[in-house]
Amino acid sequence: MSTKLINIFGFRFRYENTKEINKISFGRCCLYQRVISDKKEQSSVKNIKDNHDDKFRIAVQLKGAMGDQLVGCNYVNALYNKFRSKDILIDIYCRPYIGETFLQEADFVNQFFLDTDFSIQDEAYDLYIQLNRFPEILKYNEKKLQKYSVICKYVLLCENFKKQNAVFFTGRSEFDSILNIFTLIQNKKRFNQADIDNFLNIKEKFGFVPKLPESSVLQDYRLQKNKYITLHRGVDTSHSSFSNKQWPLENYNSLIKMLKSNFPKYKIVQLGVNKERCPDMKGTDISLVGKTTLTDIACLLKNSFLHIDGEGGMVHIRHAVQGGKSVVLFGPTSDAFYGYSENINIKENVCAHWCEHIRAKWDEGCIRSGGEALCMQKITPKTVMDKIKKNMRISDDNSNKNL
């Protein structure tokens, strides 16, 4: 790693060149940044070894948004632990940056690639699995499969399940809501939805803790571990920027005032992908909207005292990295299905049922009001603050932050 200081007309610029990043900054401001990774690089160039050795190779394609990807990674980890053999190798095909950020040193992953490169035609694997809500066996090498009874059992389980519940594998969004009900009835939630018949015994606490790549974001912004609160208002970039799941911006602004009053020693940090999708909240100490990589986000969430968000990907990230409690504001989606028990899950029972996937573009306008979601509007900043005060304790020694 090398850091150079460049003096231009009396102004000092810092240039950092590491294995992962090229960055030019002026003071605390990041002017330019390029992320590079040459370690288990997720690129379009596949490095598939010849499949004529004795190893049993499995390819798993993860579908869905950020949260789905992380839940999928946890599933693969459970799969690996179930098979537990040095002869079984699992490659993951996932969305960009997921591998680099969360799977760098994961022992259950052989390699990771872009999900768009997944193809059952390449004959490189003995078992192809596509993981959406449920695992779907796409193709397998029957001869090699016979040697592994556990994998055999797993494949049979998945195929039987698909046979009995074919409608769940149509990929049609109108069945997603029914999948949620199906899962809830089984006394399961999103994190273990894919675990058919509890074959893998997936627990709520993820079976692997991602070892995050290095990030200097805390130092760059002079943030101390557990001494700042993160907030986010946004949804996955695969969805429209307006979403029913978002809490009104003015509510965030009011909440920030309350947070500053109740937690005066804590910095308030806003996260987000860009200003268009995540407009500035008033009163924050630091806005990192558009200034962070996924690694930075994961690092920030890992070390934050508290994270406040709607139901979405960052909540799953914080859970995966074992960052601690989040305050999650639920509305159109089911808290019973998506909520993690360690979190402060807040929902006002305005509607008798969730509206996720009830119609196409369900998240682009309240089904009942046509505009902003009634269920989100009903959650007041005071309610949120009261719940935070009830569940969180300010700690001076940074060791015990949760009640």
Partner: protein, 508 residues
């Protein structure tokens, strides 16, 4: 009256025609055609159970208000026999596959939501703008919410619940026709069937009915069924507590078991007799199913055991609805075979096994111990007077009597057949004609202010009619009975030596 009208009147009832020889003929009966213009013809089909059909038919009764008088509505359903006397349906048949599609302008299938199988837009729009708007909305609903998928009943359940609607309101989510959960269905009773009560020594409100059954195609593993041993236990506990109240088991047959009821009428009653039994029972005990919905329409009270189906969708506020929350969510239509066995693979379904007989007894006891017979006070009077009241007239009153009260009150004529003469009579006035008859008044309990009743001459069932009047009249409000055709048996009840023209009865 034109010559054509006289011929039609001579040939028979203009609205209702039930083909008794359906099974033999196996053909669609010929249709009367208006010599002047071709009426709008509508076919409605429901492949579901009796509960689904009852709601459909209630909707069709309401829809009639928006249609030209000569509109033909044919209803196709497995439980068609329940509706064979409904005057607002032209014909009822068991199976839509027998229908000739060419003879209909509009064909609807009810899957909870409506599938429009045939839609002559021009003719429907010309006949009724309300019906047209309704059909257009259903098309949009199916394309938008259901994404043209006909197998997505569960999604539609979710959508209805989200909008705060129940099963009744599912048929018209936007209330385009004004149809909602408070709508009434006129289901005429056959007075001759009252004999079944005397045959088994049953008195009105003196017995309870109990049923264990589901759609006949389903097996004992159906998750909606309450365990048979629980029924036995409940019956035993009830008989110990209320030895004077007999339990009558009703149902189509003994496929789902026989409980140790006092009277076993499994497979022994016609649907008309079953209606009478339900109507006059103190309480009906059942799982969520067709007889519960039938009892609701007959204004009876049920104790309903819920499991796989949601109470908010299927439950009636007037009933005793019991549910054990062992499962975090209902499972109705989560998979297509949800009725074959419990989704969790447990038998009996834990949601039903969690409702114990003692719990049911407790709920039933609470109801029975707080019900009481109606008290009433009567007075003989020449001509009662009313002002600014809603007055229901049941029976063949003279027109001049009705007109006299119409000057200062709101008048509703309850008729089991609404004839063109009736319509001509009320035209241009504030009076209304509704379907109804004395044995099953389309009114909620304690909801009417004034009812005039002219008993049918020589009717042996006037006491049942009187009980029905007591049910609907509000406390301290008046029933007015024309004493001219009152039977001697009834007169003995009122203990007057000399009767004036009318008796007024006030409920205490």
């Amino acid at each position: 009256m034109t010559i054509q009208t006289k011929i039609y009147k001579f040939m028979g009832i203009p609205f209702l025609r039930f083909d008794h020889n359906w099974e033999e003929n196996q053909t669609v009966s010929s249709i009367k055609k208006s010599p002047v213009k071709k009426p709008l013809r509508i076919a409605v089909w429901n492949g579901g159970g009796m509960g689904d059909s009852l709601i459909d038919v209630a909707f069709l009764q309401n829809l009639r208000k928006f249609l030209p008088d000569d509109t033909v509505i044919d209803y196709y359903a497995k439980s068609y026999k329940v509706f064979c006397h409904c005057p607002f349906l032209n014909a009822v048949y068991p199976d839509i596959r027998q229908a000739d599609k060419n003879q209909y302008d509009l064909m609807l299938t009810n899957h909870r939501f409506w599938i429009i199988d045939k839609f002559d837009e021009a003719r429907v729009q010309k006949a009724s703008s309300v019906l047209y708007e309704f059909c257009k909305y259903q098309l949009d609903l199916r394309n938008n919410i259901l994404r043209k998928n006909n197998d997505n009943n569960n999604l539609y359940v979710q959508y209805a619940l989200l909008l705060g609607k129940n099963r009744w309101e599912q048929v018209d989510l936007k209330e385009i026709t004004g149809f909602n959960r408070y709508a009434e269905l006129y289901l005429p009773l056959q007075p001759d069937c009252f004999k079944i009560l005397s045959r088994y020594g049953l008195k009105r409100n003196g017995y309870i009915t109990i049923n264990r059954g589901v759609d006949n195609r389903l097996s004992e593993n159906c998750p909606k069924l309450w365990p048979l041993e629980y029924y036995q236990k409940f019956v035993s506990l009830f008989q110990k507590k209320y030895p004077h109240i007999p339990i009558v088991q009703i149902g189509a047959g003994d496929k789902y078991g026989v409980v140790n009821a006092n009277i076993n009428l499994l497979g022994k009653t016609s649907i008309e007799e079953t209606k009478i039994l339900l109507k006059n029972a103190l309480l009906h005990i059942d799982v969520e199913g067709g007889l519960v919905h039938l009892n609701h329409i007959l204004h009876g009270k049920s104790c309903v055991l819920f499991g796989p189906t949601p109470v908010t969708l299927w439950g009636y506020q007037q009933n005793i609805n019991l549910k054990d929350n062992v499962c975090p969510h209902y499972c109705e239509w989560v998979i297509q075979d949800w009725q074959k066995e419990c989704l969790r693979g447990i038998n009996p379904a834990p949601c039903m096994a969690g409702i114990y007989p003692e719990t049911v007894l407790k709920a039933v006891t609470k109801y029975i111990d707080t019900t009481h017979a109606y008290k009433w006070f009567c007075q003989s009077i020449d001509m009662p007077s009313f002002y600014d009241e809603t007055i229901y007239f049941v029976g063949n009153f003279e027109r001049n009597v009705i007109k006299k009260y119409a000057a200062h009150n709101r008048i509703v004529l309850l008729k089991n057949k609404i004839t063109p003469e009736d319509k001509a009579f009320i035209r241009g006035t504030r009076m209304r004609c509704e379907y109804g008859d004395i044995y099953n008044l389309p009114l909620q309990n304690n909801s009417a202010s004034v009812i005039f009743w002219k008993p049918e001459e020589n009717s042996a069932w006037q006491s049942f009619a009187f009980n029905e009047l007591l049910r609907v009249i509000d406390v301290h409000k008046q029933i007015v009975i024309d004493t001219l055709t009152l039977s001697n048996e009834m007169k003995e009840q009122f203990s007057f030596k000399n009767f004036s023209n009318y008796l007024t009865i006030k409920k205490g």
